[in-house]
Symmetry: C2
């Protein structure tokens, strides 16, 4: 089965490769089947907005393939990226449960696919399946936890270099090889990195220069290599 944007469509949750990590999976057979029935699926190009900050929640999106970025903006146009989402993530859950507007916008960073579960259907489903509601609560509390890490870095980590070092470390720990090195494929622009750590494009550019000069990292094409992890950790906790 072929789809737009060169993707293969995943048309059944029960056979989805990211099934294991997914909060709506490993359900009882009938619950899983019912969920599979009420969802619809769609394919999105790069740049597509799944939803926009301030909108009334229509439902949740389950990212099946591709990456998305969640961001919030001020009226003057300043933007911060609060999360990068991968396949398996559930987007918009908080807004649907609390019946408040989406608190962020979700934009596809590459072509991908997402399942959509309408608000009403989900709420009814949760009422019928109390055991799943507790898992939703667990997911929400995890979201809350990461929100607090964001608060800590924004509010406590003072200098841009500290936040930058922190970001680099969080990337590299996710991708550590057995030889200790941890190459990271850079897919973000300096501008986007700046929006993550709450600074400007220019400062990010200068930070890259500075860290390269200090031998903390190395760039091969778009692949980033951490050269001196202890030094980075020292910058973070300083």
């Amino acid at each position: 089965m072929r789809a737009p944007y060169g993707l293969n469509i995943l048309d059944n949750c029960l056979t989805c490769p990211v099934r294991e990590e997914h909060i709506f999976c490993n359900l009882s057979v009938q619950a899983g089947q019912r969920l599979n029935d009420i969802k619809s699926t769609a394919v999105y190009p790069k740049g597509a907005m799944l939803f926009i900050e301030g909108q009334q929640p229509r439902g949740v999106f389950v990212l099946c393939a591709g990456k998305a970025k969640l961001s919030t903006s001020s009226r003057e146009g300043k933007t911060i990226i609060t999360k990068l989402s991968d396949a398996g993530d559930v987007l918009g859950l908080n807004s649907v449960i609390s019946s408040r507007p989406y608190e962020v916008s979700a934009e596809m960073m590459e072509p991908g696919q997402a399942n959509f579960i309408p608000r009403e259907s989900l709420l009814q489903f949760l009422k019928d399946h109390g055991e799943v509601a507790l898992r939703v609560a667990e997911q929400l509390s995890r979201n809350y936890y990461t929100a607090y890490e964001e608060i800590r870095t924004l509010g406590l980590a003072t200098s841009p270099s500290e936040k930058f070092a922190k970001l680099l470390l969080s990337w590299s720990t996710k991708s550590t090889q057995n030889d200790g090195s941890s190459p990271v494929k850079l897919t973000l622009t300096h501008e986007e990195i700046a929006e993550i750590i709450g600074t400007t494009r220019e400062t990010v550019s200068r930070l890259f220069s500075e860290f390269k000069k200090k031998q903390l990292l190395q760039l091969k094409g778009s692949t980033l290599l951490i050269r001196n992890r202890p030094a980075l950790e020292k910058i973070v906790q300083s």
Copy 2:
């Protein structure tokens, strides 16, 4: 019934005055009764720590009387206050549900009383009462929402004056009288205000001076009066 610190002990949730606002109230009779059985209550002096950031969660606290502040600190001692809690609030819920360490510390700002529900009892209770789990999920998503407002102010509002104005407005809207004025009783020190908006004590002091000179606000003893709300709103959105 008299208690330490000049408080009257509230010994039964079913007759508690803040019952209505409380997520664990308006339950079915048997659920409410069971919850009343598994909770214990205690009275705390000013400065008491209900729990401390990083601890494994022992359970949730339901604030019955008094105010508490939630804060998180960095190793170097910088602290931010993330929330001020009143009677009726449930503290530590996220950590218990997600089984992660408390992400904040909770300190009593004045003498008060709190009910304690042990972790295991609560989780078992939620498993037995799926309908309450959904309400817990709703509460968690509301928490998440306020966390995002915190993220927005920390990450998007650039200048201290902007955050200060924002804080003043949030206080005054909670206490607007029918004549349009909105006196606020100031119970926080400059230091604490600084920890809320992420700046220093000195800057807060200077902001008070500046805003007074600009006729934006007025101080009568410890009562704060907003004199020019539109101007404050303009500072916020600027």
